[in-house]
Subunit: 140 residues, 2 copies
C-alpha cells in the first residue's frame, strides 16, 4: 500500500477528521495526478487501477479536501468543473488547455487590482477567483 501524503494526514488530523482507508486511497490518486482533473477523471483512475472506492465517497473526499484547502475547485472555460491540488495558501492557477497541466501562481499585483475594483464599484469584495488558461511551455 503506497504511503499517504503527509500534508493530507496532518490536515485531516488538525480538523478532527478520520484518516480512513478510502480517504487515503483518494489521497494517493491525487498524488499521482498532475494538473487539473475532474471527479470523473479520478473515478476513472480508481477503476483502471482497481482501487475500490465508492463513487459517493470520492465526491465526499473531494469536497472535504477542498474545504481543507488541499484542493481548489476551478471551472474550465468549457464550464466543466475541475480540481487542482494546492500547495500554498492564496494563489491562482494557470491551466494548460492542451494537457491540463497546472501551476500555482503568486498574487503578483492582483491584490491592488482587486482593491481598485472595490473602490470603483462600491462593493465590499470578499472573494475573487482568477483563472488563467493557455498553453504550458511544453505544449506551446
Amino acid at each position: 500500500m503506497p504511503p499517504t501524503p503527509a500534508p493530507i494526514v496532518t490536515a485531516l488530523e488538525n480538523r478532527g477528521h478520520r484518516l480512513t482507508r478510502p480517504r487515503r486511497r483518494v489521497a494517493e490518486l491525487l498524488a499521482d495526478r498532475s494538473g487539473a482533473f475532474s471527479a470523473a477523471d479520478l473515478l476513472g483512475d480508481a477503476d483502471r487501477r482497481h482501487v475500490p472506492i465508492g463513487r459517493a465517497t470520492v465526491f465526499r473526499a473531494l469536497e472535504l479536501f477542498t474545504d481543507l484547502g488541499l484542493l481548489e475547485r476551478i471551472d474550465l472555460p468549457s464550464g466543466d468543473h475541475a480540481y487542482v491540488v494546492c500547495d500554498a495558501a492564496h494563489h491562482h492557477h494557470v491551466v494548460c488547455r492542451n494537457c491540463a497541466r497546472s501551476v500555482e501562481v503568486a498574487d503578483s499585483g492582483l491584490q491592488s487590482v482587486v482593491s481598485e475594483i472595490g473602490r470603483r464599484s462600491g462593493f465590499q469584495i470578499d472573494t475573487h477567483r482568477l483563472e488563467l488558461f493557455g498553453l504550458c511551455p511544453d505544449c506551446r
Copy 2:
C-alpha cells in the same frame, strides 16, 4: 407584447440568426433581470409570468446569447453556473453574494498582472477569468 431590446436584435441580425418569438421572449426576460441569474431562474420567470417557452429553447437561447457576447457565463463560489448580462466587450463582473446584483468592471491593471503571470510561469496565456464576489453598496 413588450419591446425586444435593440442590442439583441442587432446582434442576432449581424450574425444571421433569426429573430424568433421565443428568442424575443428570452430577451425580454433578460431585460427585466438585474444581476446574476441561473438558467433555472429564467425558467422560473417564464413560468411565473406565464410566458410559454420550452425549456430546451431557453437553454439554447442562453448559449446563443453567450456566443454573441450578450451574456457571460460565470461560476458562483458555490460552483453553480450563472449568467450576467454584458454591455462592454472585455470586462469582469462583481457579484453581490446577497442580492446577486452585478456590475461590470474595467480591466483596471489586470492586463499587466496577466502578462506578469505569463512571463513567470512560461505559459502562453490565452484566456483569463476574474470573478469577484462580495456585498454591493446596498447590502453592506
